[in-house]
């Protein structure tokens, strides 16, 4: 990459501006070390990309989802109260509200996860592995905005200790850490992560009507906004006609017509709908996915396999048409719920996915197939991708085993 070499030339002088150099160095090691390659003529190392750089690239690919998630938390909050219902109206308020909700989740996620990482590294006497960087960025994006922080902390402790450290640390886990944390919340504290209400953040629901709940942080922002003479948080209650139902809940009840009665197709594409924090904005997810494919971090085989699997299952359901949900046109399944987010960032986790190329196709296809089955056929769960990916994580080792076996058999026959 030529860009990399250009940035290298920007290196500030260490003596003249030490602070700038430290910042440069931190990001430089994040992005470009180790940069050892074999000299020209050697055919070995093109790019010594290590774990830290790989992780940071995924985190960068997630940033657009973070930005939109921040905005959408606020957007849903104000839409529920019937204020600033336009996309851009009250933009600063929406961002501020989103930040107040998302920042604590982000901090707790990293503090608990990295804290455990440091603890285990010290205990086992090796260098800190950066394994939690990606999980720490993914976990906030797949949680509902109002999740109690202690539940978040407990779920991360569960996922990191039992899902990763018990298996020997970074790169050895069998199940996706972020999804283990979410599935723990899902089964242990179901009321905090399912239903129509949890996706709309910042209301005191004990009171009738749901009164907007503002704390000191909102007060700080109010002072700031007052100084600039722009709108401030005024508070309010959830309007009576408002329903926070996600497209999935609507589809379960009444099929595609019920969804379009409340959300337009373009609204679901751009992501101004209730849902987990990072899953709603499809274009940004696709940009992140393309970036991961372009940098060869995520496997396009898994993504494409998953798209095929979901599309084929959707087409079968369309033809079957036994319930309202089955009649939802198959191409619309991609914009409701978290299919794309799971495809781009969850299924492609190189540690828990299959590692053979044929295996990746099978793995992706089966995730698409089973995920859509759970989404459409299982009345108990609103969405299927989390459970489908965990299910296929279970079988990833088996798929690899048989792909390898078949390969050996073929080559033995040729010999």
């Amino acid at each position: 990459m030529a860009l990399i070499d250009k940035i290298k030339n920007l290196e500030p002088d260490k003596k003249k501006s030490p602070l700038l150099h430290t910042a440069y160095d931190a990001f430089f090691t994040f992005l470009y070390t180790p940069d050892h390659t074999t000299v020209d003529g050697g055919a070995h190392i093109k790019d010594g990309m290590d774990l830290k750089r790989l992780m940071v690239h995924v985190v960068i690919a997630l940033q657009l989802c973070f930005v939109f998630g921040t905005y959408n938390i606020g957007h849903q909050h104000f839409v529920a109260m019937g204020q600033y219902t336009g996309f851009i109206e009250g933009f600063h308020l929406k961002l501020a509200h989103g930040l107040i909700k998302l920042l604590p989740i982000w901090i707790v996620s990293h503090a608990v996860g990295l804290g455990l990482e440091f603890l285990f590294a010290a205990k086992k006497g090796h260098a800190v592995e950066e394994g939690f960087l990606v999980s720490g960025a993914l976990i906030p994006l797949i949680m509902p905005p109002d999740i109690p922080l202690w539940i978040l902390a407990v779920s991360i402790v569960f996922a990191v200790i039992l899902g990763k450290e018990a298996f020997g640390g970074t790169g050895m886990n069998i199940w996706n850490i972020a999804l283990l944390a979410r599935v723990f919340v899902f089964f242990a504290y179901p009321t905090t992560i399912s239903g129509d209400e949890v996706w709309i953040a910042g209301f005191d629901r004990v009171a009738p009507g749901g009164i907007a709940e503002y704390g000191w942080a909102h007060g700080l922002f109010n002072g700031l906004f007052d100084a600039f003479n722009i709108d401030t948080f005024k508070g309010g209650t959830i309007v009576d006609s408002f329903s926070g139902a996600t497209p999935l809940a609507l589809a379960k009840a009444g099929g595609w017509d019920a969804i379009t009665a409340q959300y337009s197709a373009s609204q679901m594409w751009w992501g101004a709908i209730p849902g987990s924090i990072g899953e709603t904005c499809k274009p940004f997810i696709i940009i992140g996915a393309l970036m991961l494919i372009f940098l060869k971090i995520a496997s396009w085989r898994i993504m494409l396999g998953m798209v095929f699997g979901a599309a084929l299952t959707g087409i079968i359901f369309n033809a079957w048409g036994a319930t309202e949900f089955m009649t939802v046109p198959w191409y619309h399944h991609f914009t409701i719920g978290s299919l794309l987010f799971a495809m781009a960032f969850m299924a492609t986790d190189p540690v828990t996915a299959t590692s053979t190329n044929t295996g990746k196709w099978i793995y992706g296809f089966l995730i698409g197939f089973i995920g859509l089955i759970i989404r459409v056929l299982n009345p108990a769960y609103p969405e299927g991708w989390m459970l489908a990916i965990l299910f296929l994580n279970t079988f990833a080792a088996l798929i690899d085993h048989y792909v390898l076996e078949a390969n050996m058999k073929r080559r033995l026959q040729r010999a």
């Binding site: 450290e165 018990a166 599935v183 319930t323 989390m386 459970l387 299910f391 079988f395 080792a397």
Partner: protein
């Protein structure tokens, strides 16, 4: 269609190993390599698939009140079921010993122990309590066996994969197997609650 539903339900949704946690002793002990797990899994499919219909016949025609004796003999259910299972396992053992001595040695004591594998007896008892007819009991037996087979080869593949992981010393061996089984059960919970006959 009903038979397919029962097969799918018993294989995936109500998996004997991962939803009911039956047959755990051989499940944990013989899941070190995929090859032996595969053999044991096949044996379990065979034994479940054969004993289920035989037990169905015994239960309906001999033991129940409408049977040939005309009296309710269902209290003999357990002992007769186990007798049938034991004889079938004997048959499997002879076949395996004849055709694959290496598998026979690898399975060791766990092959005859299928007799007391609670997945098999449990399957027969479920079959009675769910009041299946003959064809349904065959589907249930094969489906339950297939589900158990899938579970044991999946855990065996995972255990092969993590053989060289830096698993902390206290977690090695059986502790890891227990943890894996629990997490696999959690992964299987995604399918729980689907009712194939509802569509």
């Amino acid at each position: 269609m009903e038979l397919v539903n029962i097969f799918i339900k018993s294989a995936f949704i109500e998996n004997l190993a991962l939803a009911y946690f039956l047959g755990m002793c051989s499940y944990l002990a013989v899941s070190k390599t995929v090859k032996t797990a595969f053999g044991l899994g096949l044996a379990v499919i065979f034994v479940l698939g054969i004993t289920m219909p035989i037990n169905w016949m015994i239960n309906t025609w001999l033991l129940s009140e409408g049977g040939i004796f005309g009296v309710d003999l269902t209290f003999l259910k357990l002992i007769l079921f186990i007798a049938v299972i034991a004889s079938m396992v004997q048959l499997v053992e002879m076949v395996v010993e004849k055709f694959s001595p290496s598998l026979y040695n690898a399975l060791g004591i766990f092959l005859p122990l299928i007799t007391v594998n609670c997945a098999i007896l449990g399957g027969s008892l479920f079959m009675v309590s769910k009041e299946y007819n003959f064809a349904e009991s065959v589907a249930f037996g094969l489906g339950g066996g297939f589900g158990w087979f899938l579970a044991i080869i999946a855990i065996a593949a995972i255990r092969e994969k993590i053989r060289y992981s830096a698993v902390p010393a206290p977690m090695r061996g059986l502790g890891m197997a227990f943890l894996l089984t629990g997490l696999m059960g959690m992964a299987f919970m995604g399918l729980m609650g689907i009712d194939p006959s509802a569509f």
